[in-house]
């Protein structure tokens, strides 16, 4: 099933400049794995060494944060859009 993943500006250099990448997957986590398999340079910026999504990486299925759904097990179906929305954080 084809799901479109929207790539934020900061990460587009790793998708050959593409703002969206289509993948076949049935969960949000599988879609992200398919994305990083196709574009490996993305991987370290999306997931930490423990394999979990980094704290600043938010993922929306259409308009809903997958954290409020079933996280990476959130089902996706053909025609859905996953949007990667980074937050920013830092400090002294």
């Amino acid at each position: 099933m084809s799901v479109s993943i929207r790539i934020p500006t900061a990460l587009r250099p790793y998708t050959d400049g593409c703002a969206a990448v289509d993948v076949d997957a049935d969960t949000a986590g599988a879609a992200l794995d398919a994305l990083t398999t196709a574009h490996p340079r993305l991987a370290t910026h999306l997931r930490g060494p423990d394999g979990r999504l980094r704290s600043f990486v938010n993922v929306y299925r259409n308009d809903e944060d997958i954290r409020s759904l079933e996280r990476e097990a959130t089902p996706v179906k053909s025609g859905d859009t996953l949007v990667i929305v980074p937050s920013i954080a830092g400090g002294a």
Binding site: I88, A89, G90, G91
Partner: protein, 139 residues
């Protein structure tokens, strides 16, 4: 590549950092990404109410809305700025751990309410460190 910064954008973010002292302030550096040119700095609200003196955070949706508003004016996000109250204008491990690649991170040090240093950094692709980039003022 150097970060080319319009004097008005630098003055505005310095004023934001002074006004916000002793808390950290944060905002967007807007302009042209392909040229590394910043024409405007856009202040945002620091969402870390629990410890604003040494942390900042802006939610993804707030950033997305700000980026879309800038795009409507033909501007792109070149990077972000934040202040380090009573702390050097150098990246911290916490900054590095939360940084996005391919963005400029400008840090301005505010000592006792006075701007003492402003530097800009970019995350290495392997996330091991941030490297300084020069800041060039322009018209």
């Amino acid at each position: 590549m150097a970060l080319i910064l319009a004097p008005g954008a630098l003055a505005a973010l310095h004023e934001h950092a002074r006004r916000g002292y002793p808390h950290e302030v944060v905002g967007i550096l807007a302009g042209r990404r392909d040229e590394g040119r910043v024409s405007r700095s856009v202040p945002l609200g620091n969402e870390r109410a629990d410890r604003p003196e040494d942390r900042y955070q802006v939610s993804g949706l707030t950033l997305l809305r700000a980026e879309e508003a800038l795009a409507a004016e033909g501007l792109e996000v070149v990077g972000y700025y934040h202040s380090h109250p009573d702390h050097p204008a150098r990246w911290s491990d916490y900054d590095r751990d939360h940084a996005l690649p391919n963005m400029s991170y400008l840090i301005t040090a505010v000592q006792g309410g006075t701007i003492v240093d402003t530097r800009s950094w970019r995350l290495r692709e392997d996330r091991s460190a941030m490297d300084e980039e020069s800041i060039q003022p322009t018209e």
